[in-house]
């Protein structure tokens, strides 16, 4: 069932926007890379370029294999992912108190990033298949499906990915499952449960996670300590002004006042260098991507395709909003990378594979009927 048509103009637009965002990301990473790299080490931006090349392969592969075929193996894939998530707790590498990564030689692999994509596949498959409208089928069962992955990720701990996980689940339940009446009841029920759930979540958080959330409310209380990231990030963004400072004069990022400039805070680096106008361009690129993705979802030929595209849209959208929100100080700092821009192997490859899946959905919509 391999589709052999050459890409149409819609697909070109889609690919160009994605490549544009990737390129801006590489430039930002380049600007915060040290001017001299120790011998034998590859500079970060070059590594990121390698990741993008690998991502392109994943992107093409995700187009090539029919999503129906993928969906048929969804539960198996999810099972494998859960095993990986369990394994990483046992033999993963621990960095800054979190055990999230597999280290294979120089390569570092983060299974929780992949898990998000697999969760989308599983939930799409489930909602597409389910025939009854019962409460249990629409909420409880998918909840039980999501829970093991969520718990394993919380155990690492990886608050950011856990939140993405939850968000994907919630959007897919809302879009794919609940009727309007049930939706209202659900919201009511959740808000009633929230205080108890909060207590539970709060007590399970690590100290540094609590601190991050507390500092969010007032980063200026301890500018040298907990609030440092939040404050420096806002200084970086704000000092960019209308037109930005350019690559060389962006002192916040170049002189490392802004920590993690290549990963979670890459947006602040970009905003300092390119200013308000530059960020608007970036936002327009993301907005176009959201439009095109929802277009694909809307025109999908079956519920599976629609749900798959919806899941991907919600995943990318959530990461975008939370990441940008936290760098601008309107959201607590949780470790969520900016899709397509932050440095990182797994996140880059996964995001590109997700885009490939979107095109996959788009391409299959005309090919066959059953």
């Amino acid at each position: 069932m391999i589709d052999t048509r050459s890409p149409d103009s819609f697909e070109w637009r889609f690919v160009l926007v994605a490549l544009g965002i990737l390129a801006l990301g590489v430039i930002s990473i380049y600007s915060v890379s040290p001017s001299t790299t120790p011998k034998g080490q590859t500079p970060l931006y070059a590594k990121q370029l390698t990741w993008i090349l690998i991502g392109l392969v994943a992107f093409l592969a995700a187009i090539a294999i029919d999503y129906h075929t993928l969906a048929r193996h969804a539960y198996l894939l999810y099972g494998l992912t859960l095993i990986l998530l369990a394994l990483v707790l046992v033999m993963g590498r621990t960095t800054r108190g979190a055990q999230r990564w597999f280290a294979v030689g120089p390569l570092v692999f983060q299974p929780s990033e992949v898990a998000k994509l697999v969760l989308i596949l599983v939930l799409a498959k489930y909602f597409a298949d389910v025939q009854r409208f019962g409460w249990i089928q629409r909420v409880i069962v998918p909840g039980l499906l999501t829970l093991p992955g969520l718990l394993l990720i919380l155990k690492q701990p990886d608050l950011g990915t856990a939140m993405s996980f939850t968000f994907i689940f919630v959007t897919m339940v809302l879009v794919g499952g609940l009727h309007a009446k049930a939706l209202g009841l659900g919201v009511l029920f959740t808000s009633m449960l929230f205080p108890f759930a909060w207590e539970l979540i709060w007590s399970s958080l690590h100290d540094y996670q609590r601190e991050r959330i507390l500092t969010f409310w007032d980063p200026t209380t301890d500018p040298g300590g907990r609030g440092y990231h939040a404050l420096q990030s806002q200084i970086a963004i704000g000092s960019g002004g209308l037109l930005g400072k350019g690559l060389d004069e962006a002192t916040q990022s170049r002189l490392k006042f802004l920590p993690e400039g290549h990963t979670d805070f890459v947006f602040a680096v970009f905003a300092e260098q390119w200013g308000f106008i530059g960020v608007l361009v970036l936002f327009v690129l993301f907005a176009v991507l959201i439009f095109l993705a929802s277009e694909i979802a809307f025109k999908a030929k079956d519920p599976l395709g629609l749900l798959l595209a919806t899941g991907i849209l919600s995943m990318v959208g959530f990461c975008l909003m939370v990441n940008v929100g936290m760098t601008m100080g309107i959201f607590p700092i949780v470790g969520i990378p900016l899709p397509l821009m932050s440095y990182g192997g797994t996140t880059t490859v996964t995001s590109m594979a997700a885009l490939g899946l979107l095109l996959n959905v788009k391409r299959r919509r005309l090919t066959l009927f059953y």
Binding site: Q232, L242, F257, T310
Partner: protein, 616 residues
């Protein structure tokens, strides 16, 4: 059919909800844009300012202090490189860890570091934590630089007194400007940690010696590492001082005092130049300038021998018999007494129920004024005092500059006391008793003077009545222009006495050394004139009966005075010597004055050739 319809409707449902998601996401993007507008456009300038504060640090460039030379161009004070440890509070990541590391590496007490950290209000201004690090300490700290963010070892110039304690009281010492001083107009514009003079000429001439600080603006990274220089305003070194002091004589004077407490002042009676100003015990200004630990300060402040006191101008002592010069002048100027008035000295003098004794048991026999001065006959002056009254004596004493500041260019000069009826009423709230006039006539009782005042006074006797303001700094050389500005000698006006009075005094003082109480000051090489004095300490009256000086406890022994000038015919040097708690002035002070004057005389020809202009 129903199933298909349901599925179809269901699919429409899905699509509708999808659009909600899309709208929601785009709305969020709009909210983020609004926040972005607020941060970058509304508050852009504010955040830009904050980013600049992050990036830029200013480093004060401390100017080198001016040099200090003696009258022959001998170097007295200069600057040497020193490693100083600075700390920028803002750049510290881990305060406790740093304090612990400093204790381990250079032995700086943890509590003290923490105290300094808390005191510092402006977190981006570096504070001086320790100065004068050893090379080893500096290297250790540099080695741990990466862990100890916010610390910087800076090579700076440190004040150095080439001859250690020599002349410490008149040179003074330096130290950091205190927060209170920064409020004063004299120190306006000085940054924290600036070095200023704290005593001596370092203090009086601080404005010239200080120089002007510069400022270097540097760019730093998040760790506080200096990356590049943005702007530099160069510092201007301070101006150099040329003192009237003679280093060679000063050294001799201090060695003559040795372990005894006391002071020696030598002036040039022709212009008021201060040739010698020694005060013992002395201190090492190098130690004080290096930044005192509280413990060291406590030790110096509680030292009962008061090494920080400049006895030459802060020590107030009864003048003893040296005061007879003033009393004799008062007598000669008065119509109640004349040079020929004779008194029989029997060794004692009665006034009311009190009996005042002469220092010589059995008395001096019949005395006139001249001989009474030469022999320092107490009974003669008891009579003079009783006849003239305290106010006449006080008036004449003031003519010689006693009871007033000499106006020397050094801080914290004391003026002593010239008692009068009015003074006692005002200060003590008691009437004057006639018996007090009797003891004042021989320089005992309430009257006190400083060695510097006595040196100025004997200078006026030697030069026929000109009071000079003592001059310590002869010239200042401006660093910026190289221009030398000379300070003129200042004449405080004549002592309005008759010429004959001075002649009699001069003759008598010469005779004191030749055949009187000052015999130990007689020199073969130069004609010296002088007057001995033996000032009783307050407690000494208890032990007055003991004649054996060695048996009296040290702190109850008399202060030995000798005031002198030479050569008698054409005076060039006037000297006041005071040695605390030793005994007779003729025994303990006169030989010191003689040694000093002989040394001066030995090289006086050379001295004249050293014209000041030739030194620059």
């Amino acid at each position: 059919m129903s199933k298909f319809t349901t599925q179809h409707e269901d699919f429409r449902n899905l699509q509708r909800r999808l659009l909600y998601l899309r709208t929601g996401l785009l709305f969020c993007l709009l909210l983020l844009s609004a926040r972005l507008w607020y941060l970058q456009v509304v508050k852009g300038t504010y955040y830009h300012e904050l980013a600049e504060q992050n990036r830029v640090r200013t480093v004060d460039l401390k100017p080198a202090r001016g040099l200090i030379f003696d009258r022959h161009g001998e170097l007295l004070a200069n600057n040497v490189p020193s490693f100083n440890l600075y700390l920028t509070v803002e750049d510290i990541r881990d305060r406790d860890g740093m304090a612990a590391a400093l204790e381990e590496l250079i032995g700086l007490p943890r509590a003290e570091t923490m105290k300094r950290l808390i005191q510092q209000a402006k977190s981006y201004v570096p504070i001086l934590l320790k100065s004068g690090l050893t090379l080893r300490e500096a290297a250790l700290l540099e080695g741990h630089r990466l862990e100890l963010t916010g610390l910087r070892v800076q090579a700076e110039s440190q004040r150095n007194y080439v001859h250690g304690p020599l002349g410490s009281h008149l040179l003074g010492y330096v130290g950091e400007v205190s927060p209170e001083q920064q409020e004063e107009p004299d120190f306006a514009g000085l940054v924290q940690g600036s070095i200023i003079g704290k005593a001596g000429v370092e203090k009086t001439y601080d404005r010239m010696l200080r120089g002007k600080p510069g400022e270097k603006t540097i760019e730093v990274d998040a760790r506080g590492n200096e990356l590049k220089t943005v702007a530099v305003v160069e510092q201007t070194p301070g101006d150099d001082l040329y003192l009237s002091l003679d280093l060679r004589l000063q050294r001799l004077a201090e060695s003559l005092l040795g372990a005894e407490s006391g002071a020696i002042v030598a002036l040039d009676p022709r212009n008021g130049d201060v040739l010698v100003m020694a005060s013992s015990p002395a201190y090492d200004p190098n130690v004080l300038s290096r930044g005192l630990t509280p413990a060291l300060w406590e030790q110096i402040a509680s030292d009962t021998s008061h090494p920080l006191t400049n006895r030459a101008l802060q020590g107030q002592y009864p003048p003893g018999s040296t005061f007879k010069i003033m009393v004799a002048s008062a007598a000669l100027e008065s119509d109640k007494w004349s040079a020929d008035t004779k008194v029989r000295c029997t060794g004692a003098f009665s006034s009311g129920r009190h009996v005042f004794k002469d220092w010589k048991r059995g008395g001096h026999g019949v005395m006139d004024l001249y001989n009474a001065l030469v022999q320092s006959c107490d009974v003669y002056f008891y009579n003079v005092g009783q006849r003239l009254g305290i106010d006449t004596i006080a008036e004449t004493a003031r003519l010689f500059g006693l009871g007033q500041p000499t106006g020397i260019d050094l801080p914290s000069e004391r003026v002593g006391v010239v008692p009068s009826i009015e003074w006692k009423q005002r200060v003590r709230k008691e009437p004057w008793y006639p018996g007090e006039t009797i003891s004042t006539a021989i320089g005992q009782g309430y009257i006190t003077v400083t060695p510097l005042q006595m040196a100025v006074a004997i200078g006026a006797v030697s030069n026929g009545g000109t009071l000079h303001r003592p001059r310590l700094v002869r010239a200042v050389r401006e660093r910026a222009t190289g221009r030398v500005q000379e300070y003129p000698s200042v004449d405080r006006g004549p002592v309005p006495l008759q010429e004959g009075t001075f002649h009699l005094l001069q003759d008598a003082l010469r005779e004191v050394v030749l055949h009187g109480t000052g015999g130990r000051a007689r020199s073969r090489s130069i004609s010296i004139a002088g007057k001995t004095g033996t000032a009783q300490t307050v407690a000494a009256r208890v032990t007055q009966l003991s004649t054996d000086e060695e048996a009296i406890p040290k702190q109850f022994r008399d202060h030995a005075w000798f005031v002198a000038y030479a050569p008698a015919e054409e005076p060039q040097i006037a000297v006041a010597v005071l040695v605390e708690n030793t005994g007779h002035g003729g025994t303990y002070a006169a030989p010191i004055a003689k040694a000093l004057i002989e040394e001066y005389w030995k090289d006086s020809d050379v001295d004249d050739r050293h014209q000041i202009a030739g030194q620059f």
